[in-house]
């Protein structure tokens, strides 16, 4: 009986250690910003994350003075949270529950490398 209690205490301790290790890693990973598209030029190019996920941020770093748009896309294919800007970055910082992130090159033929980023794993 005592051995069983001791064994389950050890299991609980092990589980607590695993949680203690994974929790900060998971928090960091969830709030980490990922690049989902990058390149140069490509006017009118439209780039999306491959999957849907909760998002905290969607933005594109680009040469100031050229227009980019960012938006979220829901499962019905509807776009929302649209931001267009010629300042850098063009960014949407509102949260959404479950969406693809999209960036669209409106007129950037500057030759400078642009980078579309969002949160959650694309």
């Amino acid at each position: 009986m005592l051995a069983q209690i001791k064994a389950s205490l050890y299991r609980m301790a092990l589980a607590a250690c695993v949680v203690a290790f994974l929790l900060p890693v998971a928090v960091a990973y969830a709030s980490t910003i990922f690049t989902y598209a990058t390149g140069t030029n490509g006017v009118h190019g439209e780039f999306n994350t491959t999957g849907f996920a909760p998002r905290d941020l969607n933005r594109v770093w680009h040469n100031a003075g050229y227009f980019w748009s960012v938006a979220y896309v829901n499962q019905l294919g509807e776009t929302y949270a649209i931001v267009t800007n010629s300042a850098n970055p063009t960014s949407q910082t509102a949260n959404t529950t479950y969406a693809k992130s999209r960036c669209t090159n409106q007129n950037d033929n500057s030759g400078t490398t642009w980078t579309c980023q969002t949160t959650q794993n694309p």
């Binding site: 301790a13 928090v27 100031a64 649209i82 931001v83 500057s110 980023q117």
Partner: protein, 207 residues
Amino acid sequence: MKVLKHRLSWLAASLAAGVAVAIWILPTVAGSSGQQTEGPPARQAMSIFATARSMSDALPADRSKAAASLKAPANASAKVTPGQLLLDQSRKVMDAAGTSGVFVVPTQNGWVCLFGATVGCLDSFESITDGVTLGYGDGWPDSTPYVEGFASSAVTGVDVVVDGVAHRADLSDNVFFDRLAQKADWPESVVIHYRNETSKAVTIYPR
């Protein structure tokens, strides 16, 4: 008691290891250091930074998330890297509907970042055409569409055209901002007025 202490030490060690991995993840994936950009910096062109700073110039807490994450990708060129925000030099430019105000914050690289309905930065007024940066959006989730941007000292006014009717955006200290009345509104264009009494219409991309 000894067993409990032993377990707590393992728990603490696991937590420390997790935090260490998290610290490694964040700068590896998201971080970057600033680089100097070319050309006259936007900060030098904005006289608001020469004025005395007051308590109301501090960037509000609701912008801290956007400010904290404003780091260009690793290996990004100087043309897209604002550099570290100098939050202790921020200035409030104006009140604005649907936000806690419009603020400008200089960076270590001489850029200026505008915190209005969204966030965008400018390296130099020489980088932009028509004397303005132009930002607009649908105001999602709980506000109405907006138009905002930087304006060079050559700009005297910005008109926002909705359904064929123009109205003047607020313009102060090289920044303009306008909040549209209705969720369904969308600006068709802006008309930029210059000190030399010319003007130019800029078409806005459809929603």
